[in-house]
């Protein structure tokens, strides 16, 4: 028997995974495009551009992480349809909001900063780490959202 609670919890999984994943996909795209331009000029910078490109990819991982944890706590991974109270499901839904929403925006914005970092790489390859630091400034807010989601998830009783 599929309960409303289970459906709400699954909606929570979707809200954690989907926007953060979309945000990361966009962010990684933005950096990838900028990087391809630099590599056209100097193919030997490929490795370094890769380092910048993975940075906006983490939000998608964070979103997936919360989604996965919820599924695990629900017992879905085991393959048995679990019984979930409506309040519990709603709790999971709300817990996934921070990483879903913040993940979406921060990944896109971080992608832009990292793309600007790629232009540092084009002109002054030795200063790569500075570009990375700028991008990581944005990432911190995704980490805070991840922590908020995680702590809330942790607090939802099964």
């Amino acid at each position: 028997m599929v309960t409303t609670g289970l459906l709400l919890a699954l909606l929570g999984v979707a809200i954690a995974v989907i926007p953060a994943g979309i945000g990361s996909a966009i962010g990684v795209t933005i950096v990838g495009q900028a990087a391809a331009g630099v590599v056209t000029e100097d193919p030997s910078k490929f490795g370094k551009t890769l380092v910048l490109q993975v940075l906006p990819g983490t939000q998608g991982i964070y979103g997936f992480l919360i989604g996965f944890l919820i599924m695990q706590k629900l017992g879905l991974i085991g393959g048995v349809v679990p019984q979930v109270a409506t309040e519990t499901g709603l709790g999971f839904l709300l817990a996934s909001l921070p990483i879903g929403v913040v993940g979406l925006f921060s990944a896109v914005l971080q992608g832009r900063v990292a793309a600007a970092g790629v232009s540092i790489l084009a002109k002054r390859p030795d200063e790569l780490v500075k570009g990375m630091i700028y991008a990581v400034m944005v990432e911190f807010y995704a980490i805070l959202a991840l922590l908020a989601s995680f702590l809330a998830y942790n607090g939802v009783p099964m």
């Binding site: 490929f46 991840l146 922590l147």
Partner: protein, 667 residues
């Protein structure tokens, strides 16, 4: 640990010794030559004007020799680029980070540099090949273009010399718009009243190639119809014979030229082995150029030159001795830096802390009179990095990988320091992994504190260590203030804040937990007193009493800054948890395949290997950058000024080659 104490070196000597002095200094590689030409601005005369006063001072430039060596460099460089273009060296992914130098034995290197005949022959040979290739490629493109133009005419069965008309007819040969060909044919038919024959030689969507034979009386009518269809005359790049014959001939010719091009390219590729000769010579030339460039920083009179340099204090004896061997008449003076001097900065650290200098290099060096924070940075960087990775397996893999790379791969100084840093941090992560009990996402069977199993305790640990980090920064600044004799500034700016923050923490702990803190009952009083102290002292730069109190009150707002600083350390939990949970997920997904017959275990292992390598990669990048940020923003913000000038001595720096069979020299 510290900033090396620097000495100022003045050298004055006869111009004849100038080259020998610079050569010696370059070989020693421990003296930075300072530009002193600005000192003579205004008293500089027309160069070469010897009628001026005998004390006339000039820049000791070497522009002729500099220009000559730059020419040589550009010739060698362009030869290299030409060979490299046709016979490139593929850089491995690793070399993109570490750089690449050509390995040579000492005897090879000597042979390359001394054998100028071989070099000149090689350069002439490369230039000749480059010229040949250019001319062949020109021919190739002409032939290819002619071929492309004539191909559509190949089916024309009239020799071109016959396309010239008769007494009564004109022959029009050309290209017209192919899209409305039927229309064109009808209109021509109409205009010529049956006196024209149109042959369509070939037709594509855009163009039709036509041969029109028309009676001279109707030539103009037909031509205007053709023009309205975009007709333009076609000329042929040959005078006799069929187009198809020409096409055949051109094709043969093209094949021949292309074979020649391949031959030339093969010859260039055969020179691939000579690249190391060119690299070696280029290296030697650039070292010479560096010396001429430094000459521009010296001043001279007609007979005498003067040089000002900086060196580490413990190298001075060596320098004096080496210079004394050149000429007794050299005047070498060694001095302490004076007020207003800006000595370059060299950090002196031990084996364990030296790698962490890269963290400073990427931010800024301390000023010459500041405290070198490398030791503190080393400790906290390794600690926080360990917390961000927090897995015994990952730590071991990182340390081992770094160790192997350091052993097997030749790296630049920066690359070596970075991997040494990762090695130390990897060891720290492994040790911390023993505490968290994490092992590639699985558990070692126990856990003293873990980001995934007890996040609340881990967050408390992160915040607590964050506070220790910030306190360390404030204490360094306190010490620095005292060291400079500004005891009051130290007591007011750091001491009072330390008191206030500590008492607030104690108050917070007492109200939220049941921990019993000795002397805790006085915390409230201490907090109030230090807050009042801050209000009274933080505005002391203001002369107006009201403004002074205002500034003091406003300074209490800094408490929010400290609060956000501490909060920033929660990222350690975020990173540790993300890395830990992803590792668990990898294991879980991988284990789902385990029971599938035959391929199951293979898939499981592949997923685990790739998954963990990826997760470690992300974790190391994230850890490195986030932990660097904690140093730069939170830690350095408390005390570090920065802006020191890096020491860049004149030295014989090999950029492209290295010698394999001499023992490594220190430094």
């Amino acid at each position: 640990m510290a900033i090396a104490s620097m000495k100022k070196i003045e050298v004055i000597g006869h111009l004849d010794c100038k080259d020998a002095v610079l050569r010696t200094l370059q070989t020693l590689g421990v003296v930075e030559v300072e530009d002193i030409t600005h000192m003579i601005d205004g008293c500089e005369g027309e160069d070469g004007d010897l009628s001026l006063a005998s004390t006339q001072i000039f820049r000791a430039d070497d522009s002729n020799r500099l220009a000559a060596i730059e020419d040589k460099i550009s010739v060698v460089r362009s030869s290299l680029q030409f060979i490299e273009r046709l016979s490139p060296r593929k850089k491995s992914l690793m070399e993109q980070f570490t750089g690449y130098q050509v390995p040579l034995t000492q005897s090879q290197l000597d042979e390359y540099i001394s054998d100028t005949d071989a070099l000149n022959t090689l350069i002439a040979r490369v230039a000749e090949l480059e010229r040949q290739l250019g001319s062949l490629e020109g021919q190739e493109s002409d032939l290819a273009q002619a071929l492309e133009q004539m191909m559509p005419w190949a089916s024309l069965e009239i020799p071109v010399e016959s396309l010239c008309g008769t007494r009564h007819t004109t022959v029009l040969v050309g290209v017209a718009d192919g899209e409305h060909l039927h229309e064109l044919l009808d209109q021509v038919e109409e205009a010529c009243e049956g006196t024209a024959v149109v042959t369509v030689v070939s037709q594509s969507r855009q163009t039709a190639r036509l041969v029109v034979v028309v009676h001279r009386d109707h030539e103009d009518d037909v031509l205007s119809v053709l023009r309205s269809h975009g007709f333009s005359n076609q000329s042929f790049p040959f005078n006799r014979g069929l187009v198809s014959e020409f096409v055949e001939k051109t094709r043969d010719e093209l094949g021949r030229v292309r074979a020649q091009i391949d031959e030339v390219k093969r010859e260039v590729r055969a020179l691939d082995g000579e690249k190391s000769r060119l690299w070696a010579v280029l290296d030697a030339y650039e070292i010479e150029r560096d010396r001429f460039l430094v000459t521009e920083r010296l001043v001279r009179t007609k007979k005498v030159f003067a040089l000002l340099g900086w060196s580490k204090a413990d190298e001075c004896n060596k320098i004096e001795k080496a210079l004394a061997e050149i000429d007794d008449a050299l005047v070498v003076t060694i001095k302490d830096p004076a007020e207003g001097d800006d000595p370059p900065v060299v950090l002196v650290n031990n084996r364990l802390t030296r790698p962490f200098e890269v963290i400073l290099d990427l931010y800024s060096l301390p000023k010459a009179d500041e405290i070198d924070p490398t030791a503190a940075v080393s400790f906290f960087f390794a600690l926080f990095f360990a917390m961000a990775v927090a897995d015994f397996g990952y730590g071991v893999v990182l340390a081992l990988t770094s160790y192997v790379l350091l052993r097997k791969v030749r790296m630049s100084d920066l690359g070596r320091k970075t991997f040494e840093l990762l090695f130390i941090s990897g060891v720290a992560a492994a040790v911390f992994g023993l505490i968290t009990g994490g092992f590639f996402g699985a558990s070692l069977g126990y856990s003293l504190i873990s980001p995934t199993e007890d996040p609340i305790a881990f967050i408390a640990l992160s915040l607590g260590l964050g506070i220790v980090h910030l306190y360390a920064g404030m204490i360094i600044e306190f010490y620095d203030n005292v060291r400079r004799g500004q005891v009051m500034a130290g007591l007011f700016d750091q001491g009072l804040w330390l008191l206030l923050l500590t008492s607030l923490i104690v108050l917070g702990l007492q109200s939220q937990t049941s921990i019993n803190i000795p002397l805790g009952e006085y915390a409230g009083w201490v907090a109030a007193a230090s807050a009042v102290g801050l209000v009274l002292t933080q505005g002391r730069h203001q002369s107006n009493l009201l403004l002074r109190l205002g500034s003091g009150l406003a300074s209490l707002y800094d408490i929010s800054g400290y609060f956000s600083d501490v909060l920033s350390y929660t990222r350690l939990l975020g990173l540790g948890m993300a890395s830990g949970v992803i590792a668990t997920v990898i294991n879980l997904v991988a284990s789902m395949f385990w029971s599938t017959p035959v391929i199951g275990p293979v898939v499981t292992i592949v997923i685990m290997v790739f998954g963990h390598v990826f997760n470690l990669f992300i974790g190391v990048i994230g850890g490195y950058v986030h932990v660097s940020r904690l140093q730069y923003i939170e830690f350095f913000g408390k005390f570090f000024e920065g802006g020191g000038r890096a020491f860049s001595p004149l030295k014989a720096k090999s950029r492209y080659v290295y010698v394999t069979d001499t023992q490594q020299q220190g430094g």
